[in-house]
Symmetry: C2
Subunit: 190 residues, 2 copies
Amino acid sequence: MESFKLFLKSIVPLSDQEFEKYSPYFKTRTLARNSYFAEIGKTSHEAAFIKKGLLRTYYINEKSEEVTSCFCAENNLTASYKSFISQLPSELSIQAVEDTELITISYNDLQILYQKSALWQNIGRSIAERQYMVMEQYASVLCNESAKEKYMRMLEEQPAVINKASVNDIASYLGITRRTLSRIRKEITQ
Amino acid sequence: MESFKLFLKSIVPLSDQEFEKYSPYFKTRTLARNSYFAEIGKTSHEAAFIKKGLLRTYYINEKSEEVTSCFCAENNLTASYKSFISQLPSELSIQAVEDTELITISYNDLQILYQKSALWQNIGRSIAERQYMVMEQYASVLCNESAKEKYMRMLEEQPAVINKASVNDIASYLGITRRTLSRIRKEITQ
DNA sequence: CAGCAAAAAGGACAAATGTCCTCGAATTTA
DNA sequence: TAAATTCGAGGACATTTGTCCTTTTTGCTG
């Protein structure tokens, strides 16, 4: 739980006692490689902090292709947010790229925390704001760069993902084809 | 204020009395065409609901080009969120595309609302969640569709913006060049 | 309303990226 | 461990998009 505590402390002021008080609401759980944390069509009742491992979020587009929209690594949060927030069926699947350890909270327990304490209201809002800013960065930067620029940025910012994820998934995450990614990789190694 | 009340009601349950109670914290203000609601380098002390008009958000990239990251139309919120939330200098400018009427709240007043009431904590969190989901949608679309698909989607989802904004700004919003946009427009009219 | 400036359209060519395919290496499964 | 399957690299060509430029249109100002 230590890493999760540090994560929360990086977002809001939080004493160790306060953390201890609420930690029973959080469960630890492992997810084997290739198994799912969320699935398309099923309502997502949990959000998670990733203690160790890597998760991939994807959806299916109109051409029935998997499109990877996110890689979530250690010390980050993950959830099918739309489904979790609205408690409606998920449009996303979240799958473990490697064996992964999670710290989770259920939707119901989170609502209890929100009712119990202004602190958690604050944490909830700050996390939503944070996720928004991360997504804004992703959107505005990634979408105005060339294939090569996007790959170079990923190499810089998410080197671990490059090593663990498949070429297919990395390409769809960057919005390019496998062929283009292969060309870029060749170019770089020279 | 009526449209703003309806907007809030679409996000959280809210009685008319509750709305009246807090409405003094909100100010109405107009913004002339081409003038700024937020400017790069200046800390943004206000967030706004757009009663009427259209705003364009942009930043300057490494090549010193304006990149339009967002068009915000009537009945939506706008802010240089990162700057507003963190109270640090803005990386974005927000400019009126046409004469615009805003309903604004200051950072300080919003903090007061958060302290005063769990309702506003809830509204704040729900809005952050909502903005996140909008941004997520924008990101995945922009990165995985062709120039023509992106333009067609914009025609469908934001027809008013197409009519009001310049070709330059629409192109940079879609992450394509003017030339490509011109080609697509010609193709469509045939 | 003429003249000017800014914005938009579009021609010609170059570069980037996609499509479809094959081949060999790596990984899984019987 | 052998066979089967998946995965990644890359060739050949097509298509899309970008760059640089000129021409046309639009809108503003005196």
